[in-house]
Amino acid sequence: MQHDDVIWDIIGNKQFCSYKVKTKTQNFCRNEYNITGLCNRMSCPLANSQYATIREEKGQCFLYMKVIERAAFPARMWEKVKLSKNYERALEQIDENLIYWPRFIRHKCKQRFTKITQYLIRIRKLTLKRQRKLVPLSRKVEKREKRREEKALIAAQLDNAIEKELLERLKQGTYGDIYNFPIHAFDKALEKQDEGSESEEDEVEDEEEDDEDVGHKEFVAENEIEESDLSDFEDMNNLKGSSEEEEDDDEGETSENEESEEETEAKGKSKGKTPLKGPVRKKRAYVEIEYEQETEPAQKSKAT
């Protein structure tokens, strides 16, 4: 026999109900057929033999009804009515089906149905908008990538690479006539052409202005080549080393001795100017070279 009061007495207050969730202020009911979600005498589906709910499945709303006549047949206990997709029509359907039922249940059913339709609309709206996809990061992989990036950065030697590329472009003439450097001895083959172009060029960029007189252009060119001993690029060093040797062979020592005087003068001039790291260093480089040449005969003389 179905004694609702007795059932409620037991599960509602005195003893255990597995669907009940207790919090400080409220008791909730986890039963899926519960209409309000709270644990009350009127809302408990176990303690009411005449009960109705609204539930939704995959966007479709159904009205579930339970009557005392079917209380003995659990398999057939809940009657399921599909509600129309039209909101007003569905409300009418609820009214039709629950026509002589208690006011509380009718009202709560309609409330629940309204809530469900509202959240279904929201779901549909959100799926049309962009979804943010969360991609999980693997810590190991991220660390590995970071490490590899650092090593790649060191291997890249960016500054050197950029400088090299820019000088390549200058050499190939992509800049046209903006920079008028006398280009000498990268390639022996280009020298003849370059000498032709050098004689036409009169101006040299800012810091080189001290070194330069129209008559002494060749010396200036020589200076610049020897200055590059201190350059960063190994390639250039090799090239310059080789070109220097060639030039030494070709042009003999006399011109270089003359240059040494000029260079010391030039050095004096540059010292008078505001000191720039580049030029001062270059002059120092020269000077070292010249000392080597000068001291060799001096040593010989001392020995003898």
Binding site: E145, E149, A161, L167
Partner: protein, 313 residues
């Protein structure tokens, strides 16, 4: 105990490895000893070799080139040969041909993901100063699919979307507009202008030159062309600015410098502008479409990251 272990060493069976000792202290000691032995042997070998080299003098064989990762890189069959006609033909007819034939000028739209934080916003602004003719717009929750037709109608050639995570930019989608390829990169090590040491003044409006280094394979080539198409075709040499995309081991380093030629053998560079590194995640034909797009290249970690000497760009 240590003396014992030294004597016991002789009694161990051959093919014995230090890791089989169960006692941690002794195992550690034996391992240290092993290491010392190895080091000693290596040093002896080195000394011997050096002596031989000195003894031979001029006749010594040339020094061996040390192995680097770049040396040992597995040869990629898609490496582009400069004279390859097929590649040249492809490039004549691909989506960038209109840029390279000087028919279109680049116009770049830079935007972010939703609700960007300060760092990302500043990064976008600085990026827009580095790329001439670029505009920064706030995203405000717009869907990219709607944004793209609008951009096309307003004549933009590039769309850059900087993705942000936890207040830091971490991804970039670079989309060539009319119908062009979309590249998705992972962005790391972003340095804004004020974090750079010894930096120069802000970049001017002059178009910078572009340097693309080490884009050797076919994929690298197409990515390189994409970067080149971001900047106006004719750089203004008066500005003396250069934007560099340097590829090293599949990481693309972006730098923005101002250069000055001190003489014909020396150039000084001063870094201005933001710097960041990119790593290509995927290249998609057509504009941005994550669901139905046709991917030309996707980074698959398990297949592609298995070898430390294999690189794709």
């Amino acid at each position: 105990a240590k003396a014992d272990s030294v004597e016991e060493e002789a009694a161990f069976p051959p093919n014995f490895s230090v890791s089989e000792i169960k006692n941690k202290q002794r195992r550690h000691f034996m391992f240290m000893k092993l290491k010392q032995e190895k080091r000693k042997r290596k040093l002896e070998l080195k000394k011997k070799r050096k002596k031989e080299r000195e003894a031979l003098g001029d006749k010594a064989p040339p020094k061996e080139v040390p192995k680097t990762i770049e040396n040992q890189r597995i040869y990629d069959e898609t490496t582009v040969n400069p004279e390859d006609e097929e590649v040249a033909f492809d490039e004549g007819t691909d989506e960038f041909s209109s840029y390279f034939n000087r028919l279109t000028n680049p116009k770049v739209l830079i935007t972010t993901s939703d609700r960007p934080r300060g760092r990302t916003v500043r990064f976008c602004e600085q990026l827009s100063t580095a790329v001439p003719d670029s505009h920064v717009y706030y995203r405000r929750g717009l869907a990219l699919k709607r944004v793209i037709p609008q951009c096309i109608s307003r004549g933009f050639t590039f769309l850059i979307v900087i993705n942000e995570d936890r207040k830091v930019p971490n991804g970039m989608v670079l989309c060539h507009l009319p119908n062009g390829p979309t590249a998705h990169f992972k962005v790391s090590s972003v340095r804004l202008r004020k974090e750079m040491k010894r930096r120069g003044k802000d970049p001017t409006e002059h178009s910078p030159e572009v340097i693309l280094n080490n884009f050797t394979t076919r994929l690298g080539h197409s990515i390189g062309r994409m970067f080149a198409a971001l900047f106006p075709h004719d750089p203004q040499f008066i500005g003396r600015q250069v934007a560099t995309f340097h590829n090293q081991r599949d990481f693309i380093f972006f730098r923005f410098h101002r250069y000055i030629f001190k003489n014909e053998k020396k150039v000084g560079i001063q870094e201005l502008g933001p710097r960041f590194t990119l790593k290509l995640r995927s290249l998609q034909k057509g504009t941005f479409d994550s669901k139905y797009g046709e991917y030309e290249w996707v980074h698959k970690r398990h297949e592609m990251d298995s070898s430390r000497r294999k690189f794709h760009l």
